[in-house]
Symmetry: C2
Subunit: 395 residues, 2 copies
């Protein structure tokens, strides 16, 4: 039977998917792969309270259909929280999303025709590639250093591709590298976007998980021409199993994304939106975020300390000031995917994400993304020590 | 600022969206427009119990990320329920969706390239047009009668378009017409699909809401060559605010749709999946569905009786055996959209969905879709009587 699929497919093949599903299900493996928050600090008692209230006090509304752009009160609450970091918007400029990930799909659907150029950091978020690739763009990548995107390289990319559709960036604690874009670079990025009449997608799922140093204003707060699509998420500050995030953008962009959302899934879960709205109403999410920051700072320190003690010196790593990840760099020629399959999984029973998948055009094999958020302190020490010993034998 | 949008947009323009949002928010208007279930029979007590259990007994898992294709136990439960209507599938052939609507987006994304032909009933589900249109297909429509799609017309359409990507059908209590496809037609449809090597999307959100007559086996149960993508939904049998539905299809198709789902929203809400799984485990959903059927039978009878008594005889209507809708046909030349804007809304304070939006190619202005599920008995009588009196003055 010929299924006559569209060429439009993802950047992942079925066997990779099967492996991913199996890996997640194996209780013997300590996985530092997924970008999972620490489930031990989910605010279960408060979530139980707000779901109870949503169903028992508001059930006839909270279980019914609602408007496609999201519950008005929740949009207002998102706008109010955004104002505290300098983002000036109305609730009509907010769209509630099925996780920040959905914003990537809707923005791509709105803008990308086959062959259009998308400019992005190198390496970049795997999920962004998964969202954009089905629309068949051409990727132009911009190298990064410790301050984020190289602005001279970005300017060259824009000059060479003036018809590019947008620039995609994760400015805080980037996935996968953990790098944060400096204030000076942010100003340059906005100036370049204005000069080249370019949309920016600012993806900020980790923004509020800063455990060291001063916060830097989001790109959207510097957005003099209303050309930034700012994406945020409740996944890391509340719980990913709720699948709720948001987009903040111009009224026109939000309307277009809302029309597309109607076609892809009608709306987000009314119940989950109502429960999160009640959470923000009744409890202090900011003090919960302080707990998350303290927890991840401790785990980040523990993981980097374990790496320092047990890894061979040829492996370097980034020192993030927030977020969930550190990015390992192995000697040139080392293949982290092959090493995981042949050695790390069978011998150390440890998983990570091989770095090649994060490069849009030219995969580099000598990187790995490691998350310190998911595993317990004991598992961090045990897993990373086992991996370090295996690496010392192998490099 | 040039946003350089893709041509790829929806079939709805911003002003139509704005009107939709405003209409839904006006408490003075009795709306028979939305396909909303009756919120007064939501099983609040049982839903409260299962959300409590999901958070308090399983919260660390139920609020965390999970696999993209959906919780294994829920997929198994969906497969078990499907077996009771003759659909033989494993849990690997089930994908949990953000409502049945998401299945339309993912199937379109998997199959449609710009200009590809999609074959569908005329009229057809508005949400299917909203899902497919951004992928820019060409629609070929097949007329219907009281037994569903005209099979001779379908055969001509297939001969003229052998490279069509798929046939889309709502075989039970079709949205918008309320018509059900007969057993003989279903057999013919499967034979034609086999002969022309064609995928069928069988969309069944109303299937279980049959309140009169014998159930007819789903197309998927007759699918000798595994070419039917069967879509179902918990929206009408449990609650739409949960946003959960499912696809049942071949292992290969489910894997491809799962990969695309990873890119569009990662996964459905783990919490909502866990709660629905616990609902199916702990409570008798079949007896809840009996309550829904009895309620909608009563409301359907009340609405049709009110129409018979108050509407001018020139307006005809369908008599559905299940589902949520009846389809009104006005005299040729009557414009239901104009009438709603100029008379029905300002004078009768009543809304419906003008029929033109349900036609893929050649909108007919003399139809309207009316839902009997949403409003109370009192509002049905009040709203339809007001509409009938206004129509008697106008036709």
């Amino acid at each position: 039977m010929s299924l006559r699929y569209a060429e439009r497919m993802t950047n992942m093949n079925p066997s990779a998917l099967r492996q991913l599903l199996q890996l997640g299900a194996d209780p013997e493996v300590i996985s530092f792969g997924g970008g999972y928050p620490d489930a031990s600090i989910f605010p279960l008692e408060h979530l139980s309270f707000v779901f109870n209230a949503a169903i028992n006090d508001h059930g006839r509304e909270a279980l019914q259909y609602t408007v496609p752009n999201g519950l008005p009160r929740l949009r207002q609450q998102v706008a109010e929280r955004a104002a505290t970091v300098g983002i000036d918007c109305t609730s009509d400029e907010v769209l509630i999303l099925q996780g920040g990930q959905q914003g990537l799909d809707l923005a791509a659907k709105m803008m990308i025709n086959k062959g259009d150029v998308v400019i992005m950091e190198d390496p970049t978020f795997l999920g962004a590639l998964a969202a954009f690739t089905p629309y068949e763009p051409r990727y132009v990548t911009v190298p990064m250093d410790a301050e984020g995107m190289d602005m001279a390289a970005l300017e060259r990319a824009l000059k060479a591709n003036p018809e590019a559709k947008f620039i995609y960036s994760v400015p805080e604690f980037q996935n996968p590298t953990g790098v944060t874009m400096s204030l000076a670079r942010r100003k340059s990025l906005i100036e370049l976007a204005n000069r080249f009449d370019m949309i920016i997608i600012e993806d900020t799922p980790y923004r509020e998980i800063r455990f060291q140093g001063e916060a830097i204003p989001p790109l959207k707060s510097m957005d003099t021409e209303n050309r930034v699509i700012h994406l945020g998420s409740f996944s890391k500050i509340l719980a990913p199993g709720l699948r709720l995030g948001w987009a903040i953008a111009s009224d026109e962009i939000i309307q277009r994304m809302t029309m597309l959302k109607l076609g892809v899934d009608t709306q987000c879960s009314t119940l989950n939106m109502k429960a999160v709205s009640l959470f923000l109403e009744n409890f202090d999410i900011e003090s919960h975020i302080v707990t998350i920051r303290q927890t991840y700072l401790r785990k980040k320190n523990l993981m980097l300390e374990t790496i320092r003690q047990t890894f061979p010196q040829q492996v370097s790593f980034t020192e993030p000031s927030g977020g969930l990840f550190t990015w390992l760099t192995f000697p040139e020629g080392f293949d982290t995917a092959l090493f995981m399959k042949q050695r790390a999984l069978p011998e150390a029973r440890v998983a990570y994400v091989p770095g090649a998948a994060f490069f849009a055009n030219e995969p580099k094999t000598n990187h790995a993304r490691i998350s310190y958020s998911t595993q317990t302190d004991e598992a961090i020490v045990k897993g990373m020590t086992a991996l370090g010993q295996l690496l010392k034998e192998s490099i």
